[in-house]
């Protein structure tokens, strides 16, 4: 036995023919998440949004690369840093902004807020504000698909901070035993809140799933193409009954742990941040590649940026105008 018995995950390049339009659409999705999150930050800074938010800026390629490998009826579970997953799975900007502002038109009628958006029509079983808290739900959705004889898969997004939670290991064990169609996507953005993960994480990340016989790979989470190919490979395996897989996506949150985490020098250097922002921005990387391949021109990409910005502006306007829930809703939906 030993590691040789674990199936090897393929890089997946050329896994299937990818049309240029698909890459261009991924560019649009990356830009949409970036623009949405910038707007959220602005709402916070101008005190227009109740509460707080955890921005996904810098990590967009993980959500987009993974969700582009999924079908609408596939499931995802998300995290407190979940706006990107939600948008990448196809959520509407209008209803997301409405939720962030606590409006009745929001995905959760204003009862969930930034950390709990769920979008049942697109298989998004919800963001989760307990770190690692959705690991069971994702595996359960996978078990449900298996029991119903459906070929849906479930993706469990979590940050490397969730590696500290026992629940994850309990469910990875069962997912491996029962060959559940679940894909664990670990977004390693290097920081458990304000603590570098090397101070909290013994051994290696991928040795954890490998201990259960779950194939695992570490990939560049800033390269949407690498994420897409790796995810597509995992999804294909899961869909055809070959069981779970684990992707460690190396990424970086360009902003702080949450919107008010502005002075960060005590836990990471400005120089480190600038290196990621200037050299490892997932949007710039895809844009350069698209232009190199002559699959897009700088002008056409600018046009996409402008179109996305219009969608964001209109979505925000909708949410700002939308009514708050009626007071009677406070007691609704406690029980089904």
């Amino acid at each position: 036995m030993g590691q040789s018995s674990i199936p090897v995950l393929q890089r997946g390049d050329g896994f299937r023919e990818v049309l240029p339009e698909k890459w261009v659409n991924m560019y649009r999705q990356l830009v949409k998440i970036r623009s949405f999150e910038k707007q959220v930050n602005e709402l916070y800074l101008t005190a227009k949004m109740p509460g707080l938010a955890h921005l996904y800026i810098g990590e967009e390629a993980v959500a987009v690369g993974v969700c582009e490998a999924l079908r609408t009826d596939d499931y995802i579970t998300s995290t407190h840093r979940g706006h990107g997953h939600c948008l990448a799975k196809g959520a509407s900007v209008e209803r997301m902004f409405a939720e962030l502002l606590g409006k009745a038109a929001g995905y959760c009628r204003g009862k969930g807020g930034s950390m709990h958006i769920a979008d049942q029509d697109r298989g998004n079983l919800g963001a989760n504000a307990i770190v690692g808290g959705s690991a069971g739900i994702a595996a359960g959705a996978a078990l449900s698909a298996q029991m119903r004889g459906a070929d849906q898969v479930a993706v469990c997004f979590f940050g490397e901070g969730a590696l500290g939670q026992g629940l994850l290991y309990e469910v990875m064990n069962m997912a491996a035993l029962w060959k559940l169609p679940v894909i664990y996507v670990c977004e390693n953005n290097l920081y458990n809140e304000y603590t570098h993960y090397s101070e909290t994480t013994a051994g290696t990340v991928t040795a954890r799933p490998e201990a259960f016989g779950i194939p695992a790979r570490t990939i560049d989470g800033q390269d949407v193409r690498a994420v897409y190919f790796a995810a597509a490979n995992c999804v294909e395996r899961a869909r055809t009954g070959q069981g779970p897989a684990f992707l460690e996506c190396l990424t970086y949150r360009f902003h702080g742990h949450f919107v008010a985490d502005i002075n960060r020098a005590y836990y990471r250097s400005r120089q480190e941040e600038q290196e990621w922002e200037t050299q490892r921005d997932p949007i710039h990387r895809l844009a350069s590649w698209l232009v190199e391949q002559k699959w897009a021109s700088a002008e056409s990409l600018d046009k996409i940026q402008a179109e996305v910005q219009m969608e964001i502006t209109a979505g925000l306007e909708f949410a700002l105008q939308a009514p708050f829930p009626d007071a009677s809703e406070v007691d609704q939906h406690v029980y089904a």
């Binding site: 739900i137 449900s144 089904a336």
Partner: protein, 336 residues
Amino acid sequence: MSTPEPAARELTLAEAIREALAEEMRRDPRVFIIGEDVAEAGTPFKVLSGLVAEFGPRRVIDTPISEAGFTGIAVGAAVTGMRPVVDIMFGDFITLTMDQMVNQAAKIHYMSGGSLRVPMVLHTTLGATRRSAAQHSQSLHAWFSHIPGLKVVLPSTPYDAKGLLKSAIRDDNPVAFFEDKMMYKMKGAVPQGDYLVPLGIADIKRSGKDITLVATSSMVQVALSAAELLSPIGIEAEVIDPRTLFPLDKQTLIASAKKTGRAIVVDEGYERYGVTAEIASVIAEGAFYDLDAPVKRMGARDVPVPFSPVLEDLTVPTPESVAEAARTLCETISAS
């Protein structure tokens, strides 16, 4: 009173539970059982014996010893169209499921603005005097009763057990279902075939005019025995079993206390901050002007359950202690 015909066939409480599960699993392919040693072993109490033979290991699923993990998996399966029954062998182990039950299952419907539902049952045990010491003897049903979004069911007879479990399985909410493990061999009349005992309806187990004994689960038989001790000295006790702690049939409890003017609440959970406190306050508020005495509470002694039989037996109310308390309550006030 929902007492069945005396001519009906008798089953033990364990058999009634098993029959309810079997009938529901035949009726609805979405129902499945998941937990530790639920299949061939049928649990240490043999409550589930034989179910795997009929329904197979894909619907009666043995798990690793991972209560949080398989409870979380049940939540995910419930949200995606299944109706799991989670078996937690000893009620003490619900502490291991708390995040999944309290932060996930209980809140998902509300947090999602009503779009997601969690139709699941957590089936577990309570009760001391089995000489099992501090970690296998607690009655922790108050923990779940505290949480909006959960329902809590405590059957006290085989008849109620079957009808309540079927209602719990058909409920669209997470329901915690507690059985006293000392009562599994208790026999009672149980009709063949389908019938439901609705959640939220108390049952008057014995009519009386002098004092109300509100008793739950294991304490119903204790209260009925106490009533038999009281009858020869001229005190006729009314014994009421709420059967579900949420929803709680406040109306029936208050009406009885108004009629008798005196009430004792008996429950095997810890007395402090417990079920007895909640029900006593319901009666005190609802029947205040008709009460001839303060409402008395009798719960488990506020100590970890000790092993030694002479000590353990001191920790739970008995027919003698309840009768003595009732006699004192009736006499004291008559004298004043």
